[in-house]
């Protein structure tokens, strides 16, 4: 059958069996195929969203929809009498050209599929990528969208994420707060340790287990350096970090524990003698 024969108003041809069958197929593809495809795509989205995540559901349903549209369009064109071999040939050449031009996009798409399969993070997780920290808004085919804490919208290509170190701050349910505390050299380390652990024990956000720990880091230039390690559930992490530092300062003031300023001591050669100072008169 030649192209556009269907639109030829020759009645003999119209009522030929073959033409009739083609008409029926064309009608079925056009008027039933597309609605059925839409329904199938919605069902795939619903099913995969329940089984996996809403992001993955959206991606699967789009894949089904676009593939189905291509199949239906090619089938319709075939029913209309177009020789698809020519079209496929042209599509192949265009595909190669588009492929070269869209290497980056294809890389992002492939990276996106790997991200979906690997699941290093999910929507609503807080991640850090190349010094950018934010809440994951969506994981799309080409990129991941973040909202920073100061409400900026950041789009990061999937290829960048696959190639970079990604820190998922909220993956595990509990997190540790590390606080560097420096006290004057005159202070008793055991007493300071006791005070720090008591402050941690009295803070209701601080978890009893994993238990708070105080580590003596070393002898600093101006202070004895200690490290207080306390744990909180991830939602309380920031509140604990804010509150416990204030509580430590308040408690140190009450106990008379000195937090020294950075300082240098000068010695003139003997620790017991002061540095000699000569006042010179200038006429």
């Amino acid at each position: 059958m030649e192209p556009f024969d269907l639109f030829n108003l020759n009645l003999d041809q119209l009522f030929r069996m073959q033409t009739l069958v083609s008409l029926i197929r064309f009608g079925v593809l056009l008027f039933l195929g597309f609605p059925a495809l839409l329904l199938l795509s919605k069902w795939v989205r619903k099913y995969t969203s329940q089984k996996f995540s809403s992001q993955q559901g959206m991606i699967f349903s789009k894949f089904v929809l676009y593939t189905g549209v291509v199949i239906i369009v090619f089938s319709i064109l075939s029913e209309l009498g177009f020789k698809l071999t020519h079209l496929l040939g042209a599509a192949g050449i265009i595909g190669i050209a588009v492929g070269f031009a869209s290497q980056t996009s294809m890389s992002n798409i492939i990276s996106g599929l790997f991200l979906i399969a690997e699941k290093p993070f999910q929507v609503d997780d807080i991640i850090t990528v190349q010094n950018i920290t934010g809440v994951v808004l969506s994981i799309d085919i080409l990129s991941v969208k973040l909202r920073t804490f100061d409400n900026k919208y950041i789009r990061i290509p999937n290829e960048t994420i696959i190639k970079s170190d990604v820190t998922n701050v909220t993956h595990f349910p509990i997190r540790r707060v590390d606080l560097n505390v420096g006290v004057a050299y005159k202070e008793d380390i055991a007493r300071v340790r006791e005070v720090l652990l008591d402050v941690a024990k009295k803070n209701p956000l601080c978890l009893n287990e994993p238990e708070p720990l105080v580590i003596f880091s070393g002898f600093g230039n101006s202070s004895l350096d200690l490290l207080l390690l306390v744990w909180a559930v991830k939602s309380d992490w920031l509140s604990l970090k804010n509150k416990i530092t204030e509580e430590i300062k308040k408690r140190f003031d009450e106990e008379g524990i000195e937090i020294p300023f950075p300082h240098l001591s000068l010695y003139s050669g003997s620790v017991t003698q002061p540095i000699p100072v000569n006042i010179v008169k200038i006429n």
């Binding site: 349910p173 978890l207 009893n208 287990e209 994993p210 238990e211 720990l213 390690l229 559930v233």
Partner: protein
């Protein structure tokens, strides 16, 4: 001003307009008053050196307010268990041999539940009588947020009139595994327990924990009846989350599971 003692507080009260009511339960001081079509509740936990005999609420107290349909509301004070599981550690860990049993007692500070009495009780607020600290039961990867009980585990119990705000939970530990059960830390799912009162002491229903091995989760059954230490105790409060038969959950953990540094030791 009406102040109630701890022994007789589990009942209903008709709150008159412009009258201030107060209750003292353990560390908790509670105030309640009623204005036109409104009920207001405030509370404070007193720490050492603060005045426990303070009758009037402090000026900086924060009032929770509910608008009502009618004046002269009636409120009911009920004891309830905390809204999360509790973790308790024996003073020293002990072992239960294969097929052996042990009976232990844990004191859990209760919460105070205030309901408005209508045709159906309307829940207003739950308040802890003692502020408990948080703890994590599980691993660094998964687990649940619980409260930490510092009162420990006892093998005998005596009614403690100085702490009527705590409920005694009798627990029967049964080792049905093929190894000794080392009891270092226990997670008690109190939201599945009922509260009973025998006019002296609050009790939970009897709890049976069947230990099936380190890699298996334990089977926990709450009988729903008063323990045999106080068979005549009367049911005051049903469980927050009733369970028909039994539940299975991780109940025992080792002290080495959660080292403070975050580095697993095994």
């Amino acid at each position: 001003m009406n102040e109630q003692s701890e022994q007789t507080i589990w009942k209903s009260y008709e709150v008159q307009n412009d009258e201030l009511y107060s209750w003292k339960i353990g560390d908790l001081k509670l105030w309640c008053k009623c204005a036109t079509n409104e009920i207001q509740i405030a509370y404070r936990h007193f720490v050492i050196n603060e005045s426990e005999n303070q009758i009037e609420p402090p000026e900086d107290i924060v009032w929770s307010r509910w608008a009502l349909k009618n004046n002269h509301p009636k409120i009911q004070l009920n004891p309830v268990f905390p809204d999360r599981s509790v973790v308790v550690k024996p003073e020293s860990s002990f072992r239960i041999k294969i097929n052996a049993q042990a009976r232990i007692y844990v004191r859990v500070p209760i919460w105070l539940q205030i309901n408005l009495i209508k045709q159906k009780p309307i829940h207003l607020i739950d308040i802890p009588t003692v502020i408990l600290s948080n703890t994590w039961f599980g691993t660094f990867f998964e687990g649940e947020l619980c409260y930490w009980i510092s009162s420990g585990v006892r093998q005998q119990v005596e009614p403690d009139l100085t702490r009527p705000y705590s409920a005694v939970c009798p627990i029967q530990l049964i080792n049905k595994s093929e190894e000794d059960l080392l009891v270092e830390k226990i997670c008690l799912r109190v939201h599945n327990l009922s509260l009973f009162f025998d006019n002296v002491q609050l009790w939970s229903d009897e709890i049976k924990i069947l230990y099936k091995g380190r890699n298996d989760i334990s089977q926990i059954k709450a009988t729903g009846t008063p323990p045999h230490e106080s068979p005549m105790a009367v049911l005051l409060t049903a469980p927050r989350r009733p369970v028909k038969k039994s539940i299975t959950a991780k109940t025992f953990a080792s002290l080495k599971d959660l080292p403070g540094l975050g580095i697993p030791t095994h």
